[in-house]
């Protein structure tokens, strides 16, 4: 049990490198936009989804209507419904309280780390999968809160040479690259990239949702074909 926790924890540690600067950046940007420390921390703890926080903040600073800021932030997070569905076969039998706790901590990193492990070892018992998940998010969530606070208090702009904007794309690439092993997976990723680029002009991140659905259909269809042949 403890072993599964530490395995998850170790898998989560590399993401500290990204979550820390990203949290710092959010703290800085939020205070610059006029949020006080309590508001900045409330947002970071309650929402715990960086990209949507940046998006909502940007719209509020541009004096967009409040409901537009909220809906845009939610649209950015819609991908997490797919994460939730994808973890259900592994964690769905946990108690309601534990599932709620998993849901709260379901961020890109903890999802990607855990689902990779669960696919590799699907037979692991439920309690081990749960502690693995919580292990993976243990180094990530506290740093996200902590560095947002540091950014909000220090409140100094981070020089653009650090190119922190790119830490996030790099992490996602690093997470997904090892999974690109088979023809169905590579095809799904290819469809995802192409459709997302072609439909990038659609509002509310809906291009990404369409791209993701088409990519899932592609991957599953090719997998089925290959199985039928074998």
């Amino acid at each position: 049990m403890g072993r599964a926790y530490w395995q998850g924890f170790r898998a989560g540690v590399p993401f500290v490198l990204v979550v820390a600067p990203f949290g710092l950046l959010f703290g800085v940007v939020a205070t610059e936009a006029g949020l006080d420390i309590v508001q900045t921390m409330a947002m970071t703890v309650l929402v715990i989804a960086g990209a949507s926080q940046f998006a909502a903040l940007q719209l509020l600073s541009d004096n967009a209507p409040t409901f537009v800021a909220i809906l845009t932030g939610l649209a950015v997070n819609m991908r997490m419904a797919m994460y939730s569905a994808s973890l259900t076969p592994h964690l769905g039998k946990a108690s309601l309280g534990k599932r709620a706790l998993v849901a709260y901590f379901l961020v890109d990193q903890s999802y990607a780390i855990s689902v990779a492990e669960f696919e590799k070892a699907p037979a692991r018992p439920l309690p081990e999968k749960l502690v693995y998940f919580f292990g993976s998010v243990s180094p990530i969530a506290p740093l996200w809160y902590g560095f947002t606070y540091v950014g909000a208090v220090a409140g100094k702009a981070i020089p653009p040479e650090y190119a922190l904007d790119f830490a996030v794309p790099i992490t996602f690439i690093a997470i997904v690259a090892p999974a690109l092993r088979s023809l169905p997976q590579i095809s799904a990723a290819f469809v995802s990239v192409s459709v997302a680029l072609v439909l990038a002009w659609l509002p509310y991140n809906s291009g990404l949702m369409i791209a993701a659905l088409l990519a899932m259909i592609t991957g599953a269809a090719i997998e089925k074909r290959l199985e039928a042949k074998a």
């Binding site: 508001q39 409040t66 939610l74 994808s86 849901a103 997302a196 791209a211």
Partner: protein, 106 residues
């Protein structure tokens, strides 16, 4: 932007985001999913993350949306290292190292 609209946004986005994350885990719970559905769900990571990243690489916000050599090379490096070595940390370090190096020389 008023204090009121900030708080409304924080609370609504917080609750809404939780409900999105809880959705399937909460409602489907322990029920067994049909085979065709789990077959599709296995592709969620490779279906969502590449599409999320692609526009950020091709049209980076930091350059005002125009393609950027340093960022493109960094992305390709991370992809190559991650794919070949399966090391997440190696891919992050390699990608950022290429980004800083190319940025320094251009």
């Amino acid at each position: 932007m008023s204090d009121f609209s900030i708080w409304i946004t924080i609370i609504a986005l917080g609750i809404g985001t939780f409900l999105i994350r809880f959705s399937f885990l909460g409602l489907l719970g322990g029920r067994d999913l049909p085979n065709w559905l789990t077959r599709h769900l296995r592709y969620v990571p490779v279906a969502v993350l590449p599409g999320l990243v692609a526009p950020l690489v091709v049209w980076p916000e930091a350059t005002g949306g125009s393609a950027d050599l340093a960022r493109s090379l960094a992305a390709l490096t991370a992809l190559a290292i991650g794919g070949l070595t399966r090391s997440v940390l190696g891919a992050i370090f390699g990608g950022m190292a290429v980004l800083y190096t190319v940025q320094y020389f251009t």
